[in-house]
């Protein structure tokens, strides 16, 4: 009950953020965005037709009124139709599940593998496994996401490489074909996040390892494994959770956009990319507002998780 109250209060506190995001995206994408009048008209329109379309698009109304209309669309989840004529909500319902099953394996595996590597590096701190892992992490950080995608595609999917997986496309009708299509994107997402994640996890663990209470526990003769789990890792949980939670919005849009448009996977990222290229405002509106909402939810969930792992945190 207390948690629920807290969550609601936090959600309310997120409202200014939502207001800001919608205001900025409205101003940039709609008010100063591309003029759609002429793309909706046929050849040689009469002045009356132009006026009519401009009225229909609301171009003759003042800024505030148009912004309120924009907000109304978001609150009622009625974004209108995409330029293809398909309702935006239908487009979202079709594309978001694809993106979820595409991104999730790489997201989870990336964090798990990064954590394991960081544990190994911290355990052998200063010795060769640590140096090796950290050197590879800097290497991984220096490769562009785009190059990773193309490189993995050449090595794993092309006829010049191992030729194990389909070059591009998507088919999740059966588990076998899902796995064959999802492998290369998953490896690419993992690879690109691994360097940054491993370094971050290692630095947190090493910082916690050098605390006084760890030395005290060691002096008391507690078993090393117990110290590692209960005295060190438990204290690392808050930075870890923050890291994982805040990478969700980034992966959901940034990662999906590039992977999907490159591999031709019909998810939300590709839909967004196409909307960017063609200036399809209803879709962009929907994506921006949904990401902003996701962001606020992540912030709230993050604070609640703090409370779960650390009883000292009070939900004020």
């Amino acid at each position: 009950m207390e948690t629920l109250q807290y969550a609601l209060r936090k959600l309310l506190a997120g409202l200014p953020l939502l207001f800001g995001v919608t205001l900025v995206s409205f101003a940039l994408m709609v008010y100063f965005g591309p003029d759609l009048t002429y793309s909706l008209l046929g050849k040689n329109p009469t002045p009356e037709q132009i006026l009519e379309v401009r009225q229909q698009l609301g171009y003759d109304q003042p800024f505030l009124q148009r912004y309120l209309g924009f907000l109304r669309e978001i609150v009622t989840l009625d974004f209108g139709n995409a330029s293809t004529g398909e309702p935006v909500t239908a487009l979202l319902a079709k594309t978001i599940p694809v993106s979820l099953i595409l991104i999730l394996p790489g997201f989870i595996l990336g964090h798990v593998v990064g954590l394991l590597l960081a544990l190994a590096a911290a355990y052998w701190r200063g010795r060769w496994p640590d140096k090796l892992i950290m050197a590879v992490a800097v290497l991984g950080m220096s490769v562009s996401f785009l190059i990773v995608i193309i490189g993995f595609q050449i090595v794993l999917s092309s006829s010049d490489g191992l030729d194990l997986f389909p070059v591009r496309g998507w088919n999740a009708s059966s588990l076998g074909s899902y796995l064959s299509y999802v492998t290369v994107p998953t490896l690419a997402t993992m690879f690109v996040a691994l360097g940054y994640d491993t370094r971050f996890y290692r630095s947190v663990i090493v910082e916690e390892m050098s605390r006084d209470h760890v030395r005290t526990a060691r002096a008391f003769g507690l078993p090393e494994s117990r110290i590692f789990l209960r005295n060190i890792l438990k204290n690392c949980l808050i930075p870890f959770i923050t890291r994982i939670m805040f990478s969700i919005p980034q992966v959901a849009i940034g990662g999906a956009l590039l992977i999907e448009s490159y591999f031709g996977i019909p998810g939300i990222g590709k839909a967004t990319y196409e909307a960017i290229v063609t200036g399809d405002q209803p879709v962009l509106k929907a994506v921006v507002s949904l990401t902003a909402i996701l962001f606020v939810l992540v912030v709230v969930l993050n604070d609640i998780l703090y409370r779960v792992v650390d009883p000292r945190v009070t939900l004020r």
């Binding site: 953020l17 940039l28 965005g33 562009s144 996401f145 193309i150």
Partner: protein, 296 residues
């Protein structure tokens, strides 16, 4: 009676080592850091030559036929329409430096000023407003933001720079804000207050210079981020408009890679990898050298 000489022997000046001198000494002993700095300088010379018009001027000329192999005339071969890949890759180095330097300098400067102001006036409305701005910019997906800015500026060549600066200053500002909150409670700031130094002078002459080690590291990190973002944005078609860049080369190469011609892809990605790797190493070495907690 002889006049008493009031001046005793001149006091020996405390030979304290400044943070910067110490950092330079530590950096000089960091072999990987020095090597990486050398590599960055090498890239910079390549970029400088392009700006001064010494080489790579013919990046757009058709000097050969389609997909020529590596030869003395074409060091990295030619691309799909017969342009010299080596010239294009070197020209792109200058583009990368242009994007990286402009974005890193402007974003770090904005982040420093706004972060310092937010930190100094922590808890006031001004701080709240600045934090709100940072939150809003964080919550908008980067690629969408760039696309939106590109549209709002209707095809302006600087749209990408503006969008990157508008998002990249936030990280620096948050760090500086935290540091300034720490510094503003120190005695020397109190002393400055009590002798009537104005708030503007305190922020910009007394506090901000003491965060310059953070700013240097942040600028180098922003430089790397800008180069990496440019490649992806150019590939998506919302980046560099006129000119040549590694991102545009990679975009070009995706058609060639499927046909089994890798020179364009390899030239752009290896050159980019080298610069980013070296810059990352420099940033790491800087961070180590400027960290006062690390003895050396």
């Amino acid at each position: 009676m002889n006049a008493v000489t009031l001046a005793g022997p001149a006091p020996v000046r405390q030979r304290g080592e400044s943070l910067w001198r110490k950092a330079a000494r530590k950096f000089g002993r960091d072999r990987i850091g020095m090597l990486a700095l050398g590599v960055v300088l090498l890239y910079f010379v390549a970029a400088l030559g392009v700006w001064l018009g010494w080489w790579a001027g013919g990046w757009g000329d058709l000097t050969g036929v389609k997909w020529e192999a590596v030869s003395r005339a074409h060091w990295f071969g030619t691309n799909i329409i017969g342009q010299d890949i080596f010239h294009r890759a070197i020209y792109s180095t200058a583009t990368a430096f242009e994007v990286g330097l402009v974005v890193a300098l402007v974003a770090t400067a904005i982040g420093a000023v706004l972060g310092a102001v937010a930190g100094f006036f922590v808890g006031t409305v001004l701080d709240d407003v600045l934090l709100w701005c940072m939150g809003v910019l964080d919550a908008i997906p980067f690629y969408l933001f760039v696309a939106a800015v590109a549209y709002a500026l209707t095809g302006n060549a600087w749209a990408m720079h503006v969008a990157m600066v508008a998002t990249f200053w936030v990280g620096t500002a948050r760090l500086i804000r935290g540091e300034v909150i720490k510094l503003r409670g120190m005695e020397y700031v109190l002393a400055a207050h009590s002798i009537g130094v104005s708030q503007v002078a305190i922020i910009f002459r007394h506090i901000l210079p003491n965060t310059s080690h953070i700013l240097l590291v942040q600028a180098s990190i922003t430089f790397v981020s800008a180069i990496k973002a440019e490649v992806i944005l150019s590939f998506l078609g919302i980046g560099i408009r006129d000119g040549m860049s590694w991102g545009l080369m990679i975009d070009e190469s995706t058609k060639e890679v499927l046909a089994g011609f890798y020179n364009n892809f390899l030239a752009a990605s290896l050159l980019m990898f080298g610069l980013v790797m070296a810059f990352n190493a420099v940033a790491d070495a800087l961070q180590d050298a400027l960290d006062p907690r690390k003895v050396g």
